[in-house]
Assembly symmetry: D2
Homo-oligomer: 184 residues x 4
């Protein structure tokens, strides 16, 4: 199985990118392929229908859509901005939704979130589900949250809390098992 992973944050030292790397290792150690994208390499402009009418869908949108089309499952780790989905990630979804046929439709998605706040991005995650579900994505009911994430990672970018590491490993494993049942 080929799992595509990316973070909803552009920052180089993003806590969510660290979470993506941990998840990717769990995927690989269970014998599957993990493909990591960095949104920074997909410089989508802010969505503007005039721009789409004049220039069409950009190459970077098409390239990201191809990655999604090739993936058997998706994992996205996203921060919470102002109690909701980051504009960056929403803008990415808005462009992806313009590609026909819609490569993301019917895909399985697992959502993760790392946030320095006490609540750990739980409101953001529930808001992030909605546009994906509106596009026909099967968003896995259980999600994974790291609160106080600015002090949650050790020097090797692993979660200090071993119970949380186990929880993420189990969730990734359960998600992959669920996805594999579909792909028979």
């Amino acid at each position: 199985m080929n799992v595509l992973l990316f973070s909803g944050s552009l920052r180089g030292d993003s806590l969510n990118k660290k979470l993506i790397i941990i998840a990717s290792k769990f995927i690989e150690s269970s014998g599957h392929k993990a493909t990591i994208l960095d949104l920074k390499e997909f410089p989508f402009p802010l969505y503007d229908q005039d721009m789409e009418d004049m220039y069409g869908i950009s190459e970077s949108v098409k390239k990201m859509s191809s990655h999604i089309a090739l993936a058997d499952a998706l994992m996205i780790a996203t921060p919470e901005y102002n109690g909701s989905i980051p504009g960056v990630l929403k803008n990415c979804i808005d462009w992806l939704s313009r590609v026909e046929p819609l490569p993301i439709k019917g895909k399985q998605l697992l959502l993760l979130s790392a946030s320095p706040s006490f609540l750990g991005g739980v409101r953001g995650l529930w808001h992030t589900r909605v546009p994906f579900e509106a596009l026909g994505v099967h968003v896995y009911p259980t999600m994974f949250i790291v609160s106080k994430a600015d002090v949650a990672f050790d020097a090797y970018d692993k979660l200090i809390d071993l119970k949380k590491m186990k929880e993420l490993e189990s969730l990734v494993s359960a998600f992959i098992f669920y996805c594999s049942r579909k792909n028979i």
Copy 2:
């Protein structure tokens, strides 16, 4: 009273910009000032904390924040993208939330939506409330929705349905009355 209005869509011929113009006329005919902004003239980049750390808050973000600081009330008309807030508008909020002290905090906001769809952006509006409320904005409970908006405006950019015109006029009037009570 000075009411600041803008649309969450960048498109030149945006249905939501038409709605903003109708609302601005109702504001002016009731003796108040309407200031219309076009997000296209505020070219915010996609939010990236690295960029903020290196370059700080951009001039266009500061300029928009000053407009908000000077406003007694806000009206935003926004389309719905994929069942939720447009990435463009959310990205705008994400940048505005970085300005200190937060000029949008405590402001009154009325939300409008025009959408070609049958449901007229109702899901998008409810999602749009949340980041504003998370920032301490008083979002007016009643909102205004134009469904099938691609065929809802006449050649003079007024709503063909006179009942809807009346409904918007009443809502704008009730909102301004509510705001004026606060500003005593």
Copy 3:
């Protein structure tokens, strides 16, 4: 496959009960079993932890949980009350969530809504997803909405709009196919 169906409304002549019956016929005509429950026959009291501490889980909650445990998939048709899930349906979920082990966890669910309003319960449906997803239910991304439902059914309790009948038939069929792949 055994599909359990019920309506989130108690009313005898409920529009959502009519929708349930149409869906059940599509299930049966595709060779599967449809089991219809009526919430009126499961008189759950309003959830009160004191009551649970004193008397435990009631027989009617246990009986409904057994039905869910035996189901391969669920379909719920629900009205929208005040922009959200009906208290009746939420109270039902609150009681079901107290049964251990949780029979509803991991089940597949398709949501439908009939509503006299123009918006047809779309806000209610998106709110109804959340408690189910919080309990680990896989809520199918596509949902089915009948707006202006008070004039949408004919004398034989079928949808007058044949396109909507086809849409529901296709959705039920796609949902059952999806479940059949997941429930190995």
Copy 4:
């Protein structure tokens, strides 16, 4: 000013009832009147339109509506059940929404939540806003959350964390000041 307070939980020893009592004392010490209701004394049946058609609005619904009509502002403390509003509280709203003219429309509301969970009911609070806003209630943007609430109160039913006590006092005070400006 007369502030009406109640908890969305029926339990006698409810953590949210304790929160209501703390808030009521802050109201009274600032020279205003606090009226506390207990939902247990307003035994609303589960909403059923057949019942309403046959028997009309019950006396307990009318009595609660009268209390709301007499209030200058509302405070509700509610637990989170399954990531959302408790069925008990939603059912209460569903009945209140049937009273004409709607006494709750246009009222100011402050939401509080105490929950034993780590996240302290934040998802529930955001879901609880919606039906109130759909009914025209001005829900104050800032809300107050006590997480791990089972160990948050001392023997005198005060919050052990003095910073949280201060935070609640400030919020109650800011809310009342806001209401006093709006209720001219």
